[in-house]
Amino acid sequence: MKSVAKLMAWHWQLVRGPYAVLCAVYAVQQLILLLVSASDSQRLGYQMAELFQGCGQMPLFFVALCLVAIVAASATRNRERAQKMYTLYTMPSSRWTLWEAQFLLGLILLAGFAAWQVLLYAAAYFPVTMVLSRVAESMVANALPWNSLVEELNANPLMQLLLPVKAGSGLALLGALGVTALHSACMACCQGLRRAVVTLLALFGTGAAYTAFYIRYHQVIYGTDAPSYWLLFAVVLAVALGLAAVNVFQAVWALKRAETA
């Protein structure tokens, strides 16, 4: 376990730069998108949670999660690592620790990113509400009341995923982060053409997993218990599990053959 932690910490050291850049770019992108849509007079009467859903930031969050997975996997292709001349052969522990360390690293980076999104949302609440009320004030004489931050957190489906208050949504959060971290670890263990294939499958696999969670969310929220929804959920979940299995197999294969070396 100690060797896994050491390796993970070393890889954290290697990817923290790109990770910080990704977080910063994401923050700027989100703030700009929210403020620009808040200043749109066609969205008069919108509040923060509606705006967040209306401007398309929600899918961008999941795209960014996939980017975090790729950043985490980039540790094994880092030039610094190559310079230090440590390879699968010279590693002081079993080669499987590479996969384990990358999985834990992915999980930590993804959890950090989820927390970053919550912070960003809370931070964006004040400027976005200010712009919304300025736009409204310029169009109407009387001031409109605005939702509090708690209400805005409560009304946003993404925040319901990230700040779970029920066991179901907690499991969904763990599942989403776990699947993404798993694909990230598989990516990290492969090299060359296999890595390209694994990355592509990882994008589809995480996409399918997120879609499965969304279908389940829809079922719970709208109380639909129709067999067609369950069938769709089962099919999408099967695709997600299948792609995850294929990627794990590829990673095992690559590690066995020491392709990563």
Binding site: G45, A111, M139, V140, S148, N154, K166, S228
Partner: protein, 500 residues
């Protein structure tokens, strides 16, 4: 030597401490957010403002309410023995009912089809729907004919996507004047499907007598229906025993021939229904839009009307079997409507009988072993609609809860109204006024004297009711928007809609 010095002076990299710190920070943010969601909710969203009397008068009463802010969240409160507690409802569950769609039709019975088909006239029709590459065309033939012999068919479909359905006949009807019936045969792109000769109930309800009305009484399993009197049959309560899938329906329903084309029959019943309770001759269920709250601790209750306006209380057990029926000594007139209110106790019944403007009478009954133990009748006015009423635990006091409404006026710029509602305005600002429920009036009376309340208070909804915004938006779009408001939660369920 050089290497040794370098090792000595180089800062030792201890990445895990940073890594673990960032992990801890991430988890801390997520946990803090969760705590903030629970603790930061405005607990003062509901405030009790006492006007006369003291809160000791509230001993023995429990009033529950909830406000569904969105489909996902809300707030609920309970005023129990004078103390008010507010609980956030995070990610509220939807109610457990099944989404149902019922449709009645008058169809030509199968044995008369050939005869009606022979005298039918018709022609081809075609059209299209959708746009661009999703554009689809449909075409077919439709025929119309006139007949006096029809069968009333009722179909009930679950609209959650499963399309489970039941269809049953309500008897054959001989009309005094001929009724126009239509059949459609879709040759390609069957959008709405082909059907043999029939007509919708809406168009003929005034001209054809004997049609039995159907009302959904309970959308929870087992689905229960009220089937009104007519066609020589007494009114009754029916239960759906079996719903069929679209595949089963396809197997069960035979084809009939319309102008030489096979079309699925629309009179063949499928699924199963059973009449669980039959009312007396001339008796019918009192007109009421929703019997959702008509429950007691040991079953359900309904109000029936005997044709002369006299109301009876019908008590049913959990299996919808009649327990007892008793005259209430109340009368309703033509055009009046019953509204079932959520009660504050599981052994109490609250309802109003009002005109279309909302004025009329209200009645509170306390039940014990299937008998009315106490009854209080009071008048209600259109200005302060009654929300609920109930006796205290010992039965010496009566609590009446009604809406406290205020007229709120906002000024809407005419330019904005023009932009959104396309109505040109002469003035620069248009005032828009709407009725806003800003709280509830809570009054407690001695049970034998309803002239002067011994306690009076206002449950005021503070911060979260966004009336100004909603009314202002109603003014902008010049349409009444559906504004969510606090609702009384009956004693038989909790704020999440679960049975307790």
């Amino acid at each position: 030597m050089k290497g040794e010095r370098k090792m000595k002076h180089k800062k030792v990299v201890r990445p895990y401490s940073v890594c673990l710190a960032s992990l801890a920070a991430g988890i801390a943010v997520l946990l803090a957010g969760s705590v903030f969601l629970r603790a930061g909710y405005p607990a003062d969203a509901v405030v009790l403002q006492v006007q006369t009397g003291d809160t000791s008068q509230l001993q023995g009463f429990t009033l529950q309410g909830a406000w569904q802010e969105t489909i996902k969240s809300g707030i609920s409160f309970s005023l129990e023995n004078g103390s008010l507690t507010t609980v956030p409802q995070l990610q509220a569950e939807p109610d457990s009912g099944i989404a149902l769609w019922g449709q009645g039709r008058l169809c030509v019975p199968e044995e008369n089809l050939a005869e009606v088909d022979a005298q039918a006239a018709g022609g081809a029709f075609s059209g299209s729907y959708g746009a661009f590459f999703l554009r689809s065309h449909y075409e077919g033939m439709n025929f119309t004919a006139e007949t006096t012999h029809l069968e009333e068919i009722y179909a009930l479909t679950v609209t959650d996507g499963s399309d489970l359905s039941v269809r049953f006949s309500l008897g054959e009807i001989e009309t005094s004047a001929p009724v126009t019936v239509t059949a459609e045969i879709h040759t390609e792109n069957r959008v709405w499907g082909s059907f043999p000769y029939c007509t919708a109930l809406d168009g003929v309800a005034d001209t054809v007598s004997g049609i039995r009305e159907v009302q959904i009484l309970s959308a929870e399993k087992p689905v229960s229906l009220y089937v009104g009197p007519g066609n020589g049959q007494n009114a009754g309560i029916w239960q759906v025993l079996q719903l069929c899938t679209p595949e089963e329906i396809e197997q069960i329903v035979p084809d009939v021939m319309i102008h030489g084309t096979a079309v699925p029959s629309n009179t063949e019943p499928y699924g199963a229904v059973e009449e669980v309770c039959t009312l007396d001759a001339g008796e019918r269920l009192a007109p009421c839009a929703d019997w959702y709250n008509a429950r007691l601790d040991n079953g359900r209750w309904f109000l029936t009307e005997n044709g002369e306006g006299e109301l009876s209380l019908l008590l049913l057990d959990e299996n919808w079997q009649i327990l007892s029926k008793q005259l209430l000594g109340m009368k309703m007139t033509e055009g009046q409507q019953v509204t079932v209110l959520p009660s504050m106790r599981t052994n109490e019944i609250v309802f109003t009988v009002t005109d279309s403007n909302g004025a009329g009478q209200a009645s509170v009954l306390r039940m014990e072993n299937g008998k009315v133990q106490a009854q209080k009748v009071m008048t209600v006015t259109a200005e302060t609609p009654l929300l609920t009423a109930g006796f205290s635990q010992d039965g010496t006091k009566l609590m009446i809860v009604s809406e406290k409404a205020e007229d709120l006026t906002v000024l809407v710029p005419a330019a904005l109204r023009e932009q959104y509602a396309y109505t040109p305005m002469a003035e620069s600002e248009v005032p828009y006024t709407a009725d806003a429920v800003t709280g509830w009036n809570v009054q407690v009376y001695p049970v034998d004297d309803l002239s002067e309340p011994s306690f009076s208070a206002v449950l005021d909804f503070g911060v979260t009711q966004q009336w100004a915004r909603e009314i202002w938006l109603s003014g902008v779009y010049n349409v009444e928007r559906n504004i969510s408001r606090f609702e009384v939660i009956g004693a038989w369920e909790n704020a999440k809609g679960e049975h307790v």
